[in-house]
């Protein structure tokens, strides 16, 4: 959603750390230029450097965190590309194209609710930190299938976090769409000092339901949601945000080939027709998406 143009480039980067974080893998590599330029919500096209044709193409991977010259990524090994990335060890090299995409627009005001689903949490640690640094009140809501994924919540340092798992093996039990309305209502009603952790109580009716535009006017301030996760989660979230008059930015997933707007392969259905996740996204206003 940012407009200012920062040129991307191709880099060959040595891996300096590779460790498991539950069922995910955290990989850090040296990439000074990327670390200097990347903004939250931007992504990289990444593959193991070298001649092997398996996998053939790089994969889009969000920037998880930056630390001086280092870029960190968090990988969920699900297929050909991510399994190969998760297999990288210290000393191996990565081919990295980036930073790419628009990233989240951080210029809004009001409290920020950062919502992640599964590996969608990966780019949100950097985002949450950046939002805090801008002085915004930040609260995080992270949903996972199981505990093995949910331990990734530890990567969100110094953040106020609620964690949910579908099987209840860590944090609250259920999908994040259940606590979301309550958390939103709280954030919009008062300051962070009033916020209580929704984790644990599957309160559907505990917080009064609001009736769209009219209800919103009654709150102190509009919250803004920043989300990344499975389509179904983002669609549900978009509806809830609309109900609460909260703005929402969503980072959309798509299979990519070029990453730079050339191949038309990564399009997302929006209210204005197909738009490319790589060059016109991956972050879109929730209201733009044709869910």
């Amino acid at each position: 959603m940012e407009d200012q143009h920062i040129p991307a480039s191709l880099f060959d980067c040595p891996v300096v750390e590779s460790r498991p974080v539950g069922s995910y893998r955290l990989i850090s590599f040296v990439a000074r230029e990327v670390a200097a330029l990347a903004r939250p919500g931007q992504f990289l096209m990444v593959r193991a450097a070298g001649q092997s044709l398996d996998p053939l193409l790089p994969r889009p991977i969000g920037v998880h965190e930056l630390e001086s010259d280092l870029v960190k990524i968090l990988i969920e090994p699900v297929g050909r590309g991510t399994i190969s990335l998760a297999g990288l060890r210290v000393g191996d090299r990565l081919s990295v194209l980036g930073p790419l995409g628009n990233g989240f627009d951080l210029n809004g005001e009001g409290p920020a609710l950062v919502v992640g689903g599964g590996i969608g949490a990966a780019p949100l640690a950097f985002l949450a930190r950046a939002l805090s640094q801008r002085g915004r009140e930040v609260r995080c809501l992270l949903g996972f299938k199981i505990r093995g994924q949910a331990v990734a919540a530890e990567l969100f340092r110094n953040q106020k976090i609620d964690v949910y798992t579908e099987d209840g093996s860590m944090g609250g039990m259920g999908l994040i769409s259940e606590p979301l309305p309550g958390i939103l209502a709280e954030m919009q009603a008062g300051g962070p000092e009033n916020a209580i952790s929704a984790a644990g109580d599957s309160s559907d009716g505990a917080i009064p339901a609001d009736d769209g535009e009219t209800g919103v006017a009654g709150y102190h301030r509009a919250a803004e949601i920043f989300a990344c996760g499975p389509d179904a989660m983002l669609a549900a979230l978009s509806g809830i945000a609309g109900d609460h008059g909260a703005k929402a930015q969503v980072s959309m997933a798509a299979h990519m080939a070029c990453g730079v707007g050339a191949c038309q392969g990564c399009v997302i259905r929006t209210v204005d027709g197909y738009r490319r996740a790589c060059s016109e996204g991956p972050v879109f206003a929730a209201g733009e998406i044709a869910w």
Binding site: L56, P58, A257, C258, G261, G265, V267, I268, Y274
Partner: protein, 306 residues
């Protein structure tokens, strides 16, 4: 010995034999997004923009891409802004390129080929026209017009009547006899044959076991199809007295060498640019090295060596 990479494709003179494959490289977008100054430092010896059609097309339902073993399935479906917008918005910008522009056009009917060729006939920026009769993602049965020698010939004749520009016909490998289609195109007035467009294929989502692509099936590109492409180049270049542009899975300078040896006069890079965006910039130098080790001093000497 210093090998020369200079070559020609009909009236087009090329600094080296490596061009891009339509639909896989967008110089305007790439120049905007990447650090490189692509207009003044363009890696390919000619530029082939994405195929355009008479009317704008939104393309097929996503997902449109899926990686397979050493290959890429796509079902873009010729998403493009339409030839009028291409002419008005893109051509003036593309004219800044220092290399020839090969416009690629496709029709939803045979007659569109004539109409599109006519619209380009008077444009000096356009050095040559490639007729894409081979996209597997346009018609619902996946059958490209280029599957039929007669329909191919009709499309070529209409374009030929509309323009005297260098006319390239890009064929599909999804046929029983690609030489027969090439011969039909040649008889109808083609100046050059491009082979190959993508190979028809499909993939299922590993979890849902439903087709991954929104369009169900798609076109396979990349190293997986190199043997199919190399054979098409070899067969077509032997059977016809026209220059051939070879493509399909070209990923290394060695591949370029092989396609030239198989009979191509120029070689196009598609999927491999996704794998390595700097590949095109390196290829000419690497190709020269490979030629020199083998004592080959010119593209002409290499062409058809196989």
């Amino acid at each position: 010995m210093k090998a020369s990479l200079h070559t020609s494709l009909g009236p087009l003179t090329l600094d080296h034999p490596i061009i891009n494959a339509s639909g896989t490289f967008d110089v305007i977008e790439a120049d905007r997004i990447l650090e490189a100054d692509l207009f003044s430092d363009f890696p390919f010896a000619a530029y082939v923009p994405k195929t355009v059609t008479l009317k704008p097309r939104t393309g097929n339902e996503p997902p449109r891409l899926y990686e397979t073993a050493a290959g890429l399935l796509n079902s873009i479906g010729l998403a493009n802004k339409g030839i009028e917008n291409f002419i008005v918005e893109d051509l003036p910008r593309l004219a800044e390129l220092l290399v020839p522009i090969i416009a690629s056009i496709a029709g939803e009917s045979t007659s569109d080929y004539g109409s599109c060729a006519e619209l380009l006939a008077g444009r000096d920026e356009v050095a040559a026209i490639e007729l894409n009769v081979s996209c597997p993602n346009v018609e619902l049965d996946g059958r490209a017009l280029g599957c039929d020698p007669e329909r191919t010939a009709r499309a070529v004749s209409l374009a030929r009547a509309a323009t005297s520009k260098f006319l390239i016909v890009k064929l599909t490998p999804n046929v029983t006899d690609i030489v027969a289609v090439a011969q039909a195109a040649a008889a109808a007035g083609a100046d050059c044959i491009s082979v190959i467009n993508t190979v028809h294929g499909m993939a299922l989502d590993p979890w849902t076991l439903k087709p991954v692509l929104g369009h169900t099936s798609g076109g396979l590109s990349g190293p997986a199809i190199k043997p199919v492409a190399l054979r098409a180049v070899y067969m077509v270049s032997r059977a016809l007295d026209l220059p051939v542009i070879g493509m399909g899975g070209v990923t290394t300078a060695q591949d370029v060498l092989e396609f030239l040896a198989a009979g191509a006069s120029a070689v196009a890079i598609g999927t491999a640019s996704f794998r390595d965006p700097l590949l095109a910039a390196r290829l000419p130098g690497e190709l020269r090295d490979l030629m020199e080790i083998r004592g080959i001093s010119s593209i002409g000497q290499l062409s058809g060596m196989a």
